[in-house]
């Protein structure tokens, strides 16, 4: 199948957010403890829990340990009672966040408004922070999560979101690359994967620059680079992801029938 034909097939089969949710869910491993943010991360973690990682433990910053979100009852944030349904425990938000610092969490799983080549996330200001074009809602638990554990970020792949340097580091990735993260006092964690509707990225071990590890079906290196505001590294053993299966899509749509997160 040609790239164009695959793209068309992809477009007719599922939306970009559905692709993102499915691909993000595949990055989680059974038995992991994952601290998930609202939106695609919550949905993708729940999808993984229902499909291939039944032993996944999902935590929310509102204070939930071991969430089991019900289909069609996705919460508007990670702080409502829907997040606690069939959970193992609820505790204070401060104490659930402290589990990150204590070291109980394998993966932090978040969305992002703006990311740069070193995986720093901005959810605070677009433009000059002193005179911003847009004041964004802020960090929430994002800074704590990205400071204290390994991170998977799920976001739409757009040039305006993938920038050379974020306007403001809200949630640190590898700061300015190299050893700068550790030098700034962050001795654990860091960016592990960035998953988008175009591919899966990791970070170079030395320079800490973003590196393409896999492309989604029908996506080319040129296309992913064209949608990125900085130069991407590309791994030598570049792979292509399997397209979303019918089962993945049907369970996903069952979880979010109102398309609250999968617009």
């Amino acid at each position: 199948m040609t790239t164009e034909a695959t793209s068309k097939a992809r477009a007719s089969n599922h939306t970009a957010s559905e692709l993102l949710a499915v691909m993000a869910s595949r990055l989680l491993k059974d038995g992991q403890v994952v601290f998930a943010g609202v939106g695609i991360p919550l949905l993708a973690a729940t999808l993984a829990q229902r499909l291939h990682t039944p032993g996944l433990t999902i935590l929310f910053e509102g204070g939930t340990i071991g969430a089991f979100v019900e289909p069609g009852k996705l919460p508007p944030s990670t702080n409502e009672q829907r997040c606690t349904r069939r959970a193992n425990m609820v505790l204070s938000s401060t104490d659930v966040l402290l589990l990150l610092q204590r070291g109980y969490i394998d993966i932090g799983f978040m969305g992002g408004a703006q990311i740069d080549q070193f995986g720093n996330l901005n959810s605070s200001f677009i433009g000059d922070p002193d005179n911003p074009t847009t004041r964004l809602p802020g960090t929430g638990g994002g800074n704590d999560i990205s400071s204290l554990t390994d991170m998977i970020v799920a976001m739409k792949h757009e040039k305006r979101r993938f920038v050379h340097r974020v306007d403001f580091i809200t949630s640190p990735g590898f700061i300015r690359g190299g050893t700068s993260r550790r030098d700034s006092g962050l001795v654990v964690g860091g960016m592990y994967r960035v998953v988008t509707d175009l591919g899966v990225m990791g970070f170079d071990d030395e320079s800490r620059r973003m590196k393409v590890l896999a492309l989604h079906p029908g996506v080319t290196v040129g296309e992913i680079q064209d949608n990125t505001g900085f130069e991407l590294l590309v791994t030598d053993d570049l792979s292509v992801t399997e397209p979303p299966s019918g089962r993945e899509l049907s369970v996903l749509r069952h979880l979010d029938p109102d398309r609250l997160y999968i617009a």
């Binding site: 938000s93 966040l97 990150l100 809602p137 802020g138 400071s147 700034s184 962050l186």
Partner: protein, 317 residues
């Protein structure tokens, strides 16, 4: 040097901490808050938000309040839009992610009509916890390397005197008044909370004064039958106000979920023109009604019952 701590102690000692009835009206409770007070708001995002108390403060014309909360939602927008507050301290501020970035927040913060100090969520929690512990700060291992630190004049970094680890120090928050809504409490202020507690226990113990609003007032006997369920002790509480549906249109765990239609209507109103929208909303829903009951009437029985049906369903198998 120890002035802040000594003053905190003096304020606490000066409070009547005896086991006494303290049930008052919403209007009387509003008079316990002074212009310029530092307010701590309980709950988080759309959950257990003390909307009725905020509603009463706005109606009472309070000004220049500095308000802190783990995560702020439309409560912050009402406080800014009414000019009750011009300074918010929080980790995240918008109506809710499903409604996009708050237009009201943007209007006030981008034009510098109000200040939004951004701390990480855990830092907010540890600030309340330090306040509750009676210590001036707590160390934390997040926020380092971020650009948030440079914008916060009150934050410090240090090397641990034992290990040399680099740490960020977050200063205690001891609000003048904490506003907390619970499912039930007795007339003395022994409060029982169901579901997510957020930072409310630390907030209550940190504050110089706690105003409790509650879905229902139960007897002290009932409290004493399950003291393990009591999360805030009477001795921290200054006033108790019974306000059914006191978080509407937000959620109160096990009693009602968020009033989603009302939130959609609100978001739509703000989306068109946030300045006009918030003024219109305040006129209609905050200044307009004669009482909290009339406010609930305006929201409507259909929405109320829908939210209550969904809220109570958390206990269904």
């Amino acid at each position: 040097m120890t002035q802040a701590y000594l003053e905190l102690r003096r304020n606490t000692v000066a409070r009547d901490r005896s086991l006494r009835e303290k049930v008052i009206s919403l209007e009387q409770a509003a008079s316990l808050v002074k212009d310029g007070d530092r307010i701590g708001i309980g709950g988080s995002t759309l959950s257990r938000t003390p909307i009725a108390m905020i509603w009463a403060l706005i109606r009472a014309g309070r000004k220049r309040l500095t308000c802190s909360r783990g995560i702020m939602s439309s409560d912050g927008e009402l406080l800014l839009g009414s000019a009750a507050s011009d300074h918010l301290i929080t980790s995240w501020f918008s109506q809710g992610i499903v409604w996009g970035v708050s237009k009201v927040m943007r209007l006030y913060i981008e034009s510098k009509r109000a200040r939004f100090d951004e701390w990480s969520h855990m830092a907010m929690g540890l600030r309340f916890r330090a306040g509750a512990m009676g210590v001036p700060f707590l160390p934390v291992r997040s926020m380092m390397g971020s650009d948030m630190i440079a914008r916060l004049s009150e934050i410090r970094e240090m090397a641990c005197p034992y290990t040399g680890d680099r740490l960020v120090l977050v200063p205690a928050l001891n609000p003048d008044v904490a506003l907390i809504h619970v499912q039930r409490c007795d007339p003395y202020g022994n409060a029982q909370m169901d579901g997510l507690q957020f930072m409310d226990i630390d907030l209550a113990m940190a504050a110089n004064k706690v105003i409790l609003t509650t879905e229902r007032i139960v007897s002290n006997d009932q409290i004493r039958r399950a003291p393990d369920q009591t999360k805030i002790p009477f001795l921290a509480v200054e006033a108790v106000v019974e306000v059914p549906f006191g978080c509407a249109p937000h959620e109160c765990y096990g009693v009602y979920e968020p009033f989603f239609k009302h939130h959609d209507m609100y978001a739509e109103l703000m989306r068109k023109d946030p300045a006009k929208g918030i003024a219109e909303y305040l006129d209609r829903y905050v200044y307009g009604p004669k009482s909290w009951t009339e406010y609930l009437d305006l929201i409507g029985t259909e929405e109320l019952l829908d939210a209550a049906r969904r809220g109570r369903s958390i206990y269904d198998d």
